[in-house]
């Protein structure tokens, strides 16, 4: 996955993500693509969660999946989640759950709960940073005020790092793929550098949802694992989601 939160020169916040899924879960030689990735595309839907006929939050999701990986609480915050691989992975959390130690959150249930119940950027940030999890993850959170945007790097028990927007010091975007920001990405899977390169070329004064779509359409940020691209704009409560394809030649991840 690749998630970006960016702030333009007027303080307006934009959030976008490529949802990549299906690595090593079967390659379809004829279609030249990952089998799981292809099967997930028809399941992708845009959901409007309502209470008393009013929107509480919106999400781009898979049909049949009750947790959330991308969503927006209009006017308040935007949230995406990227997978974080670790030896201390989710299977340990699941094992503990089976043994009766059930004080942690399933990742996608936490994001759903935050989207449904948090009524401020700060509250969402606090819950995502400090709730115990069954699996490590990256949470990419955007708010509705200048400087409200961050990447929270989570282990199962703690926030290892919170990387905030800081426009006064030139940090007008944060970008997360599937690697800790203080470590170099895997040489064979560097989507971070191309994303940063494209963001720098775009420049802060030109950032917009179309600009972010352009960046997320650039290979290898767009790759064979990409199921969809979601664009989120918090102040207008706007969300759009598009299914993607990466014709050859294209990076397998």
């Amino acid at each position: 996955c690749t998630s970006i939160v960016a702030e333009d020169t007027t303080g307006k916040l934009y959030h976008a993500r490529n949802l990549d899924f299906g690595l090593f879960l079967g390659w379809d030689v004829n279609a030249s693509s990952w089998r799981t990735t292809q099967k997930l595309k028809p399941l992708m839907v845009s959901l409007d969660f309502q209470r008393n006929n009013k929107t509480v939050f919106r999400s781009a999701n898979f049909a049949g999946y009750v947790g959330m990986v991308s969503g927006i609480r209009p006017g308040i915050f935007t949230l995406t989640m990227n997978e974080r691989f670790s030896l201390d992975g989710g299977y340990i959390g699941v094992f503990e759950w089976l043994l009766g130690q059930r004080n942690g959150w399933w990742m996608s249930f936490l994001t759903r709960s935050v989207l449904e119940n948090s009524t401020s950027y700060e509250d969402a940030k606090d819950r995502l940073a400090h709730s115990k999890l069954l699996a490590p993850a990256y949470f990419i959170l955007g708010g509705n005020k200048s400087g409200e945007g961050c990447v929270i790097t989570r282990s199962r028990v703690a926030a290892l790092d919170i990387w905030d927007l800081d426009t006064k010091n030139g940090v007008w975007y944060v970008v997360e793929t599937n690697y800790d920001r203080w470590k170099p990405p895997l040489v064979l899977d560097d989507r971070r550098s191309p994303a940063r390169n494209c963001l720098n070329q775009t420049r802060q004064e030109n950032i917009s949802l179309p600009a972010l779509y352009n960046i997320l359409s650039t290979k290898p940020i767009l790759n064979k694992l990409t199921v969809s691209t979601t664009l989120l704009q918090v102040s207008e409560g706007h969300m759009e989601t598009y299914l993607r394809e990466c014709p050859d030649p294209c990076s397998p991840w």
């Binding site: 879960l25 089998r35 799981t36 099967k39 595309k41 399941l43 992708m44 839907v45 845009s46 959901l47 409007d48 309502q50 509480v56 049909a63 049949g64 009750v66 947790g67 997978e83 670790s86 030896l87 992975g89 989710g90 299977y91 959390g93 699941v94 759950w97 089976l98 399933w106 990742m107 996608s108 449904e116 069954l134 699996a135 490590p136 993850a137 191309p194 390169n197 494209c198 070329q201 775009t202 949802l209 779509y213 352009n214 960046i215 359409s217 650039t218 290979k219 290898p220 790759n223 969809s228 691209t229 989601t241 598009y242 299914l243 993607r244 394809e245 990466c246 014709p247 030649p249 990076s251």
Partner: protein, 121 residues
């Protein structure tokens, strides 16, 4: 670009979405949180029943590749159904509602919903 054989120059005209990298927009559904959890996802999952079952079958195929035993997978399915009953409210009820709406084994829908935790290794 020099390092990545698949890399390319930054796109500037991909939006509005069109062409070979665009595969369509996604449909929108309303999820009514005022309904009991077991009823919230019925319409959506019935509309997408064939596609959901397709993914569940693929997940089972993947498990079979790793585990090689139909009996073990059947046993795993029943344990996953039990695991579903331990999930917090309202998620447990929503998952049961989905399984019931499309007549799929509860364990399969549970596995689909905890896929992230299982595969972060």
């Amino acid at each position: 670009v020099a390092k990545d054989p698949f890399g390319e120059e930054c796109k500037t005209l991909a939006y509005p979405p069109s062409g070979p990298t665009y595969k369509g927009k996604v449909p929108t559904y309303i999820i009514n949180l005022d309904l009991p959890p077991s009823e919230r996802w019925v319409q959506l999952t019935r509309d997408k029943a064939a596609e959901v079952k397709d993914v569940l079958k693929l997940m089972k195929d993947i498990l079979t590749t790793f585990l090689h035993s139909g009996k073990f997978i059947a046993s795993l399915e029943s344990k996953l159904a039990w695991l579903g009953s331990t999930l917090p409210y309202p998620f447990n009820e929503e998952i049961k509602g989905i399984a019931s709406a499309i007549d799929a084994p509860l364990g399969d829908i549970v596995l689909f919903n905890i896929f992230y935790e299982v595969f972060t290794v």
